[in-house]
Subunit: 161 residues, 2 copies
């Protein structure tokens, strides 16, 4: 059986973009050294150009995994406390992680932009083991509830690199 | 740098078990045919023996992936609407998926037990494309907030097969 594929229209694009702009955390799926998947919670935000980013520590298992194998997946879109969690819209991103270099003006802009939406991160954003990581998106899957599944491109999300 | 490893005590075991028994959905990480990770939201519950289970459709991309490659990971533990989502406890499970056969008395018990906690699933639990899948746990990682990371065994969770 193949998943039903629905045509992507402007409403679908807007719903996916809105999930990216409002998400503050994500479930990150990485590959471990043994090639097996591993899912953890990470912070989630956007760079000034709208690209999804996170701020992660070298002390976390997922950080070493992303350095070895940058291909990953992110799930965003909170179900909220009420109703069937599977009727709430969510977005699965298929991405490649790129660690950002600290000593650039671009990094300072990115840091300032991120801290506007994640003010509590000021406490640790400058610790030596913390790094901003940008996610370059290859493809996304929006699930807007039962029988509302869509495949989107980076262009649909306004995120073409 | 290696992640700090803290000793597991009874309080940690109870916190992890409580996350399993109260979770109603999870972020599931599977491997696609190309070997890349993919994270989606699935329902989450427990069998009468306490083992984590889900109810998934053949129409979903993750179902085919689990049939081809049953090794997977699940993230449970909702952050809730307030505070820093990274201070809320969550549990990453490393598991192997096992599709349950329909025509057994064990299946009927499992179905009845699951529907007690997921009453809305009655609408589709008996559709031909839906399947209960049991997750045999190899290892779990509890993150109880910053600098509170623990590695647990199936035995710690009371889930030894």
């Amino acid at each position: 059986m193949r998943p039903p594929s629905l045509p992507v229209d402007e409403e679908v694009r807007q719903q996916a973009r809105s999930l990216i702009h409002t998400a503050r955390h994500a479930a990150l799926g990485v590959l471990l050294e043994n090639g097996l998947p591993f899912v953890t919670r990470v912070a989630f935000g956007t760079a000034p150009d709208g690209m999804p980013i996170t701020l992660i520590s070298d002390l976390a298992k997922h950080t070493g995994a992303l350095r070895r194998h940058p291909t990953c997946s992110l799930l965003i879109g909170d179900p909220g406390p009420k109703g069937d969690p599977l009727t709430h819209p969510r977005l699965s991103l298929m991405a490649t992680a790129e660690f950002m270099c600290r000593d650039t003006s671009r990094y300072a802009e990115l840091r300032a932009h991120y801290l506007q939406t994640h003010p509590k991160s000021k406490l640790y954003a400058d610790f030596a083991d913390f790094h901003f990581v940008r996610f370059n998106i290859r493809e996304a899957h929006l699930n807007g509830g039962f029988a509302r599944a869509f495949t989107l491109t980076a262009n649909d999300l306004g995120l073409e690199g």
